[in-house]
């Protein structure tokens, strides 16, 4: 495969290392490994604290991903603007 095929890609998320450090940090919060055994915690918005923390981390991951796609996935000709 000729890697010249990709010359029109101006930026791709995989090549930007610090993007993945942020992902690593957010996943480390989303996966509930750091709570004490059998922990439940207070109820926050209807969920046990450890679940609410995970959900907030997933929301942060989604917002981060939107930013990454918008800012770091860039190609010379992206075609028309997105509409229906």
């Amino acid at each position: 495969m000729e890697h010249r095929s990709f010359t029109s890609i101006r930026s791709e998320p995989r090549k930007v290392r610090w993007i993945w450090l942020v992902y690593l940090a957010l996943y480390a919060v989303a996966i509930p490994w750091y709570w004490p055994d059998e922990y439940v915690g207070p109820i926050v918005l209807g969920f046990p604290l450890w679940v609410a923390t995970t959900l907030l981390a997933i929301l942060a991951l989604a917002i981060w991903t939107t930013f990454v796609i918008h800012r770091f996935w860039l190609v010379d000709d992206e075609g028309d603007q997105a509409d229906g």
Binding site: M1, A30, I31, G46, T66, E78, G84
Partner: protein, 488 residues
């Protein structure tokens, strides 16, 4: 509670019937809009999907019958530990970021139609392309099977066993294959628009009515659950945490290379459209998978003591309870039931279309009839869809595994194709021999562990451990014998 039956009256039956017939109508309309008989037109809608259609077809395809029935059932069995389902459904988008920018670029330049087209182009290996295609077709057949099983569970659940699941499976499968063969991807994507909207509406209704009407609010549900079954509210133990990490890899990598998902990347009208669709998809686990989990939690409190085999029907059973409460509840349940059908059919039809394209393009043309015209291959694909549906319906009627178990078995093999995409697009030195050796080693580990009864060693899925071995073989092979040094 729990004895109410979900029996639709004539009005509701007509509404659901019209909804199903409208799918065939969309199929006819899609057929009238075709641009020719080429495979790209039939299987990729002529690479013309705009934002609304692409987003809704991605959404309706990715959120399947498993999300509604399998995930509510799994939550019923393990409680809040299934919060992982929200994380792994999100992780699929991260998986795309690791390979889609290059694959999309290449697909536009080279005119790919199937994932096998890429593998064939990148590795120039018939063996690797064939093995990858067989694994992907196997995984998709399993996936379709899970949807068909869920159709049966839905029908049997809502009628409290009065209508056998086999009848529901056969009827819905026939409707699906009719509109699929009429209009191909155009038809599937447009029906996905209807199905996606109904699905979103259904989930919105579920989150409003289930915890409040049946459980007295989410706080009350969690309070009762804490008293009834504390482990279902507690943080997972170390094996559970390993299982979370494993699920993130299993789905984040595996579901990102679903052939039907890859074909939607190929089918987008432009990169701008694709990027916007994926941004929206990042948030969908929080509006969809989370709601399925909340319904499963409510079911633990409202319908305690169900046996393992009954748990995939908990959603249908709690809908029956809502339906019995009021006229409004009755019609809300009709919409949710339509959403359930939408989730099942939109996923199954997409998988079926992919199976048909891969069989035709990656097996029939190279191995059976090399001089086939595009028109002939499109026709063969349509015939194959009917044959595949007939076989899958037969298997769905006679098997009894729970829905989530079917899902996991599929990923254990599909995930072994991941290095061809995630590494193949970036590692120039990854040779065909190394990629094939990695795939075979990964499969040997995944299947060996599964068949020897070690499906989840230390909480990790056998397929994920197989993937680690697969990647290690690719890394060592690329380092010792890079492709550039081979005399091909």
């Amino acid at each position: 509670m729990g004895e109410e039956q979900l029996v639709f009256g004539p009005g509701a039956l007509i509404a659901v019937g019209l909804y199903l017939v409208s799918m065939i109508g969309v199929g006819y309309y899609a057929r009238s809009k075709r641009q020719g008989n080429s495979m790209a037109d039939f299987y990729l809608a002529g690479r013309s999907l705009g934002l609304t259609v692409l987003f809704l077809t991605l959404y309706a395809t990715q959120y399947s019958g498993n999300t509604l029935f399998g995930y509510t059932g799994k939550t019923y069995r393990i409680g809040f530990e299934w919060t992982v389902s929200i994380l792994f459904m999100f992780s699929i988008i991260v998986g795309y970021l690791l390979f889609a920018p290059r694959l999309v670029q290449l697909a536009r330049k080279e005119g790919f139609i199937t994932p096998g087209d890429y593998i064939s182009y990148r590795f120039r290996s018939k063996a690797l392309t064939l093995l990858s295609t067989v694994l992907m077709i196997y995984a998709l057949c399993n996936y379709t099977l899970a949807q068909l099983k869920a159709m049966g569970a839905a029908v049997e659940g809502i009628t409290n066993g009065a209508v056998p699941s086999a009848y529901g499976i056969v009827a819905l499968a026939i409707i699906m294959v009719i509109y699929e063969t009429l209009g191909g991807m155009r038809s599937v994507a447009w029906t996905d628009v209807i199905q996606g909207v109904v699905l979103l509406l259904g989930f919105a209704l579920l989150v409003v009515i289930v915890p409040s009407q049946l459980g007295g609010g989410l706080d009350r549900v969690v309070e009762k659950l804490s008293a009834m079954d504390p482990p279902k509210v507690q943080v997972p133990d170390w094996q559970g945490i390993n299982s979370w990490i494993s699920y993130v890899f299993l789905l984040g990598c595996g579901a990102a290379i679903y052939p039907q998902a890859i074909q939607r990347l190929y089918a987008s009208r432009s990169l701008a459209v694709l990027k916007r669709s994926l941004m929206w998809m990042s948030f969908m686990p929080l509006t969809t998978t989370l709601i399925a989990m909340v319904c499963g939690l409510t079911a633990i409190v409202v319908l305690p003591g169900l046996e393992q085999g009954e748990t995939d029907q908990v959603l249908a059973r709690i809908l029956a309870l809502i339906m019995a409460q009021s006229a409004l509840g009755y019609w809300l349940v009709v919409v949710v039931f339509a959403a359930a059908l939408a989730a099942l059919m939109s996923t199954a039809d997409s998988a079926l279309l992919s199976i048909s394209s891969m069989f035709t393009r990656d097996i029939y043309k190279p191995y059976i009839k090399q001089d086939s015209s595009e028109e002939h291959m499109t026709m063969v694909g349509k015939v194959f869809s009917w044959v595949a549906v007939a076989i899958l319906v037969g298997v769905a009627i006679v098997t009894e595994k729970t829905l989530v178990r079917l899902l996991e078995l599929k990923f254990e093999v599909l995930i072994q194709v991941v290095p061809c995409f995630f590494l193949g697009l970036y590692w120039k030195g990854l040779s065909r021999q190394t990629a094939l050796a990695g795939m075979l080693a990964g499969l040997a580990v995944a299947l060996g562990l599964t068949w020897s009864g070690n499906r989840l060693p230390w909480g990790f899925h056998a397929g994920v451990l197989g993937l680690f071995v697969n990647v290690a073989v690719c890394a060592v092979g690329t380092w010792l014998r890079p492709a550039a040094l081979e005399k091909d």
